[in-house]
Every structure is written in structure tokens, then in C-alpha cells.
Amino acid sequence: MDTLFDFVTYTKGIEYLIAVAFLVMFIPFWFLATSTRAPQPERAAAAETVGRLEDMVGGFLVPDSVYFHPGHAWARVDDHEPDLVTVGIDDFGQKLVGNIEGIQLPDIGAEVVQGARAWNLRLDGESIGMLSPVDGEVVAVNPDLTLEPEKINRDPFGSGWLLKVRPTRKSANIKGLLSGNFAKRWIDEATSRLMENSEYATGPVLTDAGPSRQGMARTIDAENWDRIVRDFFLVTE
């Protein structure tokens, strides 16, 4: 290449080839880079619900990052929303009641008190209340639940979250909640208590892939399953 013209023609040709190759490569790279971000919430939550082995207690998921209220509601502080608490039903509770047909959530701005009724589950014509794990003001409810209540069953700790509360007495509330090993032992006792008042083992109830459609309570006692549920949810009616 002894002339500038040849040199420019050659170098520009190579630069174009590199640029075109890059553009062609960029498309798959884009999907590679961006696709991992979008479905992340589900996958992470799914990972939690399916549960790493050490989180499973007797077939129920008990993730470490969550605080449990004895009425089978859970509360969790997410790192991307440090001043809010996400609230939902735990794995044992949703398996107990089976597929939830509908849910009545408190209004935004409403006050919830730890241990007081905060929302009602609607299933099989019955309306069963549940207690709030924390005190505070409701700032958000899960929009998907009106159309897809089954999300609660499918992913109780992830996309099946119920509300977001701005806690007023966070540290005090935590004292009243169980987590880590305490929670695991509590779930273990709950499982054995459930087995006591059922004539046959809860085995079959748990062996099928996901929570059975009816839920453990109805499988155990078709008529007064609601009494069993209310007993576990520590609610009176």
C-alpha cells in the first residue's frame, strides 16, 4: 500500500467489516444481556418457593430471609425497598387452604396491626380472615391478585405477595415473629399438629407435585375444614 488512497480504502474496508460483525453480534448479545433481567423477579421468587433443600421442612418452604407470624402470614424487608415490608401467606398456609378463589385486601392507606385481622381469603364460599404480621400503613397491594389469585398458591413468597406496609413499630414487631430455625421448628410442630387431627397420614396430601387443589384442610375434613384453617390462622370467624 504505497499510496494514501490504497491505505484508506484498505483500512476503511477492514473497519467496516469489524463494525458490521459487531452489529451482527450485538443482537444475540443484547438478548443475552437484557433477557436475564426481565424475568428475574419470578425466577428468584420461584427459587425461594421451590426452596433450596435446607429451606424445606416437611415439604413446606421456610426461607431464611422471611419473618413468620404464628397466624401463617410472613413479612420480609426487600433490599430495594428498605423502608417497606412485604407481607404474604406462607407456604404451609396456602397449602392448608388449597386454591384461593379470591382475596379481599385492605385499602391503600389503611392501618394494620400485628395480630389483628387484615385481609380475608375467599374459597369454597367461605371467607377466612388472616392476621397481619406487622403494624403499619398499607402502601401497596399486589395488582395481579384480582385477576390471578392462584399466584398466591404458585408463588407465595414471590409474585404472590399480598401487600406492602410502611411499618410503624418494625423492631418491636420483629420480636413477635419467628425466623430461621425457630420458624422451621414452628412449621414442624404445625405439621405434626395437623397430622394429629387427621385419621390418615398427610403423606398423600403432600406427595403430589404441587399443593393439591383442595388444600390439606379439605382433604382431611371435608365439612368443617374451615374450623381447622381458622384454628391455624388463629382467627375466630
Partner: protein, 305 residues
């Protein structure tokens, strides 16, 4: 161990500086210098010898089979107005008043200067111009689209276009490339009685021109037009009269024309490579923000079961 900013900068320069001093020769090698084919041919027109007989026009017309002109070649009336080359005449001779002694007018022959770094070649999008190793710049009729970008790019206004033809060609002097490749001289050089046009290796012609200027300093302007203009041309000129008084453009500079677009062309791949990620980033940013807005909005009194 706190490195304050000044300490850091000093150390960086020290490192940088030493590298540059250590081997200055190395850095200088980075400068691009293109010589082209050293044995390429060229022509040297000596304006002091040209008598305006226009034998060169006649010879060029015949050698290239161009149509006969309206005004015959020995009719001096054509000198009344300044002519330019056309699609029917690859070379023309113009007459100028002699500013030094009004005894003898000065004649100037125009034709393609066969630049070392042709601007027409750099402008052509289908690479229809090639600077041959022998020196001539040739146009390729099998590639040309007729976009006429070469006509804008040529600082000497040389390439001409056949406006009156449905299948037009670009017409210009090709330094009789077929004749020279058979060892003959270009037709105009051979026809010139006064040997006003010398033909030979460009390097030889530069020496010849310098010899003539040194031998007769009063006869010539001490400047070889084309030695450096637009990066050097194969067709050069020596004259007894200042060049701009004989229709030459003295403001073309010495930068080879392909250099003018090189800056832009090197920015092109940068855009090609940076924009995807940049615009992709904007898209992700606006998607994310929209997602947050949705989540915020939906948090409001959502319709309950």
C-alpha cells in the same frame, strides 16, 4: 496508603514521558508517509516553449478517436475565450497575455494532472478510478454509475460527463495508457514540435525541471507546479510567468485530498459500534422507568376482588 491526586498524576506523566523519550525514533515511525510507485511516469509541460500550435490537441483527438471539433485545430480564433476540456476534447490549449514581456503570449495546455493521491478516486463509491503503477489515473467504464461525484471532487475540474448521451461516459485524459504500455509516448508529447512536453519517470522530470530552472533563472519562475500541489501530481509544469496569471489555481494546498474525508470516515465505525449500546441503554433506561411508574401507579387503589 493515601495517594493524593497530584502524586498520582506526576507518576503517570513520569511513566508516559520516559516512554516517549526512550525511543523517539519509534514514535516518528507512526507518521504515515506514502511515496507511491517511485518508478511511475509523468509529464512536464514547459510553458516557455509552447507556441500554441495545438498539434497536441489534434494528436489527442486522433489517438482517442474523438469527434472532429467545429473549429479546426489550426484556427487561432479559439484563443479568444478561455476553454476547458470537454467530453469531446481531453486536452485544450489556452492563450494568456504575457505579463513579463508582451512580445510573445503564453500558452497553457490543460489535461488531467494524474494526481499521486487522486481526489476523484477517493470520491468514487464503486472504485471506478485506479491510479496505475505507471502513473496514469484511469476511469473504468464497466463500474461507473454516472453520479458525477468525481467532477465535484476534482480540484482541476477535469472529469467531464456526456450529458447528451443516454448511456453517458466520464471522459478525461488517460495519459495514453495503452500507448505508453506499448513503450510509446503519449500522442500529445510525440506531436509537440517544440518538445514543450517532456515524458519520463516523474523523479527524472523533477530533476529535469530543476536543471532547466537553474540553467536559465531569468527564463523560469522557480516553482514546479504539481511537485507538491494536492499531494503531488504526475503532470507538472514550469513557467516563465507566475502560475496564477496563466489560469493555474495556487490555493489548492499540498494536502492530498483523500486526507480531507479521512477524519469523517474514521468516525463512522465509532458511531456504528457505540450507538447500539448507547441507544440500547436509553431503551432499557426508559423501559425501567416506565416499569417503576407502572408499579407506582398500580399501587394506587387497585380494584379489589
Amino acid at each position: 496508603m493515601k495517594i493524593n491526586r497530584r502524586g498520582l498524576i506526576k507518576s503517570v506523566f513520569a511513566a508516559g514521558g520516559s516512554a516517549a523519550l526512550a525511543r523517539p525514533g519509534k514514535a516518528a515511525a507512526g507518521v504515515e508517509h506514502f511515496t507511491g510507485n517511485p518508478d511511475r511516469y509523468g509529464c512536464l509541460t514547459d510553458l516557455t516553449r509552447c507556441v500554441g500550435c495545438r498539434s497536441c490537441e489534434a494528436a489527442c483527438n486522433e489517438a482517442n478517436g474523438l469527434p472532429k471539433p467545429e473549429v479546426p485545430f489550426d484556427d487561432d480564433s479559439v484563443f479568444e475565450h478561455e476553454r476547458r476540456t470537454s467530453e469531446k476534447a481531453y486536452t485544450v490549449v489556452n492563450r494568456y497575455d504575457n505579463v513579463r514581456t508582451d512580445a510573445k503570449p503564453v500558452f497553457r495546455k490543460i489535461q488531467c494532472n494524474h494526481c499521486n493521491e487522486p481526489s476523484c478516486a477517493s470520491a468514487c463509491l464503486v472504485n471506478a478510478y485506479t491510479k496505475t503503477p505507471e502513473g496514469a489515473v484511469l476511469w473504468n467504464k464497466d463500474l461507473c454509475l454516472g453520479c458525477r461525484m468525481c467532477m465535484l471532487a476534482c480540484p482541476f475540474y477535469i472529469p467531464t460527463f456526456e450529458y447528451d448521451k443516454p448511456v453517458p461516459k466520464i471522459q478525461k485524459c488517460n495519459m495514453c495508457h495503452d500507448r505508453t504500455s506499448q513503450g510509446k509516448m503519449p500522442a500529445c508529447v510525440e506531436a509537440c514540435p517544440m518538445e514543450a512536453i517532456a515524458f519520463g519517470k516523474r523523479s527524472e522530470l523533477i530533476k529535469l525541471a530543476r536543471e532547466r530552472i537553474e540553467k536559465e533563472p531569468d527564463r523560469y519562475i522557480d516553482h514546479i507546479y504539481g511537485e507538491h500541489e494536492v499531494g503531488g501530481t504526475s503532470w507538472m509544469y514550469i513557467s516563465g510567468v507566475p502560475f496564477e496569471r496563466v489560469g493555474f489555481d495556487e490555493h489548492l494546498g499540498v494536502v492530498p485530498f483523500p486526507q480531507y474525508t479521512r477524519g469523517f470516515l474514521s468516525a463512522v465505525p465509532l458511531v456504528l459500534v457505540i450507538w447500539p449500546a448507547l441507544l440500547g441503554g436509553f431503551y432499557l433506561f426508559s423501559e425501567r422507568r416506565e416499569e417503576l411508574d407502572d408499579r407506582e401507579k398500580s399501587g394506587k387503589p387497585g380494584e379489589r376482588a
